[in-house]
Symmetry: C2
Subunit: 322 residues, 2 copies
C-alpha cells in the first residue's frame, strides 16, 4: 500500500508510528500547512513522527503555501490517502478530497472524521466519487469507526434497536501533542462553537483546562455515529444514538473504560444489551489510527473491485493491515 | 430478499421466527429430509415454525426422498440460500452447495457452519464459486460469526494479536428443540466423534445429560473461528484462537456471559484486551440466525457487485435486515 498522510499533527504522527510496525504500508507523501514531502521509494515514518511540536513537514521536504496542490501533482504514485487533517471548518476535509478528484486523482481514501455536519457534506459527494471511480470511507476512527462498526455487529441479534450508547475515556499525558483534536473536542462543550474553539490560543486552552483540573466531560456530542447507523438501518432516528466521554488531558490513564452498549429487542420479546469494550491500556492513537488504516486497505480493495462512492465505516469490515 | 431455508430443525425454525418480523425477507422454499415446500409468493414463517417435533416439511408441502433436488429444480426463484442443515458429516453442507451450482444455480449463500474441517472443504470450492458466479459466506452464526467478526474489529487497535478467546454460555430450556445442534456439540466432547454423536439415540443423549445434570462443558472446541481469523491475518497460528463454552440443556438462563476477548500488543508496547459481550437475555437463536440473515443479505450484495467466491464471515460486515 503506497499511501499519503495528509496532516502531520498528533494524529498524523501517531499514524506514522503505527505504520513503522507494518510491513505492507509505505508512506509516499505527507504534508501540513507549511510544507510537503514526496518520495516514491518511501518516507521513513520516523522522519515524520520525530518532527518537533513547532516543526513543519517542510523540514523533511519542501516549503509550500499549497502543500495539498503539490501532492496532487504527484498523486499518480498514491494508492490510498489517509486524512488526518483537523476538520475545522466542517467543509475543509470534504473540499480537500474533492480537489484531488477534480484534478484527476482516482484512488481510495480513509478519514477518521467525527462531526455529523462534515460527514453529511461527504455523503453528498457519493455520486461524484462514483463518477470519478474513487472510493472514500468516512468515520474510520474509534467513534465513529471501531465502536460504530461494533454496533452494526451487535445489532444483528435484535429485531429492533432501542439505543446505541457510546461512552469513551481518553487519557492524554500532554495535551499539546493533540492540539487539533482537543480543540475539536472543546467545540463540543456547551457554550463553544467550532469557530470559537479554533480561534482559542494555546494559553486560552490551558486556562480552560486549569479550571477543570484537566478533565473535560462531554455529553450528546455531535458525532456522526448517528447518521452512520441510521444510513444502514441500525436505528430509525438519530436521537437513538448518543456519544459522550471523559477526557483527562493530564494523565495517560483513562478515566473510564470506553464502551459501546447497544440495547434492543429480540424476536422472542426480550430486551438485552451487547457491549464492546476497549482495553484501558489502549490509547486514542491505537483505537483511531489502527482502524483508519484497516479501512484504508478496505477502501483500496473496494476500488480494485470497482465499488466506488462515499461509504461509512459501518458498511464494511476494516481489513487487517500487516 | 427471496430466500430458501434448507433444513427445518430448531435452527431453521428459529430462522422462520426471526424472518416473521422482517419485512424485506420472503421464504420461497424450504425442506427437510422427508419433504419440501416451494411457493414463489412466499411461505408463511408460522407454517414452518409451527411444525411439530416429529413433523416434516412434507406436511406443508410435498413428500420427497430428494427434497434438495426438488428445490434445485425451482432455484431460479431463489436469491439467497440460508443453510440450517445439521452438518454431519463434515462433507454434507459443502456437497449440498456444490450440487446447487452444478445444476446451474447462480446465487448467494449464508451458512452458520461451525466445524474447522467442514469449513476447509468449503474454502476449497472458492474457485468453483468464482467460475459459477455465486457467492458463499461461511461461518455466519455466533461463533464463528458475530464474535469472530468482533475479533476482526478488536484486532484493529493492535500491532500483534496474542490470542483470541471465545467463551460462550448457552441455556436451552428443552434440548429436544435443538437435537441436531446438541449432537454436533456432543461430538466436541472428549471421547466422542461426529459419527458417534450422530448415531446416538435420543435416549442415549438423555442419559448423557442426566449424568451431568444437563450441563455440558467444552474446551478447545474444533470451531472454525481459528481458520477464519488466520485466513485474513488476525492471527498467524491456529492455536492462538480458542473456543469453549458451557451449555445448560435444562434452563433457558445462560450459565456464563458469552464473551470474545482479544488480547494484543499496541504500537506503543502495551498489552491490552478488547472485549465483546453478548447480553445474557439473548438466545442462541438470536445470536446465530440474526447474523446468518445479515450475512445472507451481504452475500446477495456481493454477488450483485460481481464479487464471487467463498468468503468467511470475518471478511465483510453483515448487513442490517429490516
Amino acid at each position: 500500500m503506497n499511501i499519503a498522510i495528509l496532516g502531520a499533527g498528533g494524529i498524523g504522527k501517531a499514524a506514522a508510528r503505527i505504520i513503522e510496525k507494518k510491513k505492507e504500508v509505505k508512506i509516499v507523501a505527507t504534508c501540513d500547512k507549511r510544507g510537503y514531502a514526496i518520495d516514491e521509494k518511501g518516507i521513513k515514518p520516523r522522519k515524520i513522527y520525530s518532527l518537533g511540536k513547532n516543526e513543519s513537514v517542510a523540514k523533511i521536504g519542501k516549503s509550500s503555501s499549497d502543500a495539498i496542490g503539490e501532492i496532487i501533482k504527484k498523486s499518480n504514485v498514491i494508492e490510498g490517502i489517509l486524512i488526518t487533517l483537523p476538520n475545522l471548518p466542517n467543509e475543509f476535509i470534504p473540499s480537500v478530497a474533492k480537489r484531488f478528484l477534480k484534478n484527476g486523482y482516482q484512488g481510495a481514501f480513509s478519514d477518521p472524521l467525527k462531526r455529523t455536519q462534515a460527514m453529511k457534506i461527504m455523503f453528498e459527494m457519493h455520486t461524484f466519487f462514483k463518477k470519478t471511480k474513487s472510493t472514500y470511507i468516512t468515520g474510520t476512527g474509534a467513534t465513529p469507526g471501531l465502536l460504530t462498526a461494533a454496533a452494526v455487529l451487535a445489532a444483528q441479534s435484535f429485531i429492533k434497536v432501542d439505543n446505541v450508547d457510546i461512552f469513551w475515556g481518553v487519557g492524554i499525558a500532554n495535551w499539546e501533542e493533540y492540539k487539533g483534536t482537543i480543540r475539536e473536542d472543546i467545540a463540543h462543550l456547551p457554550g463553544y462553537t467550532i469557530k470559537k474553539a479554533k480561534s482559542m490560543t494555546d494559553e486560552e486552552v490551558e486556562a480552560l483546562l486549569d479550571k477543570t483540573n484537566g478533565i473535560l466531560k462531554f455529553h450528546n456530542m455531535e458525532h456522526a455515529d448517528d447518521i452512520l447507523l441510521k444510513k444502514i438501518g441500525v436505528v430509525d432516528r438519530l436521537n437513538q444514538v448518543s456519544v459522550g466521554g471523559v477526557m483527562d488531558t493530564r494523565h495517560a490513564k483513562k478515566p473510564v473504560t470506553t464502551t459501546m452498549t447497544l440495547t434492543g429487542k429480540t424476536f422472542d420479546g426480550k430486551t438485552s444489551s451487547h457491549k464492546f469494550m476497549l482495553g484501558d491500556e489502549t490509547t486514542m492513537a491505537s483505537n483511531v489510527l489502527g482502524p483508519a488504516l484497516g479501512y484504508l486497505k478496505r477502501a483500496i480493495w473496494l476500488k480494485e473491485n470497482k465499488i466506488y462512492g462515499v461509504f461509512g465505516s459501518t458498511e464494511f469490515m476494516p481489513m487487517v493491515v500487516r
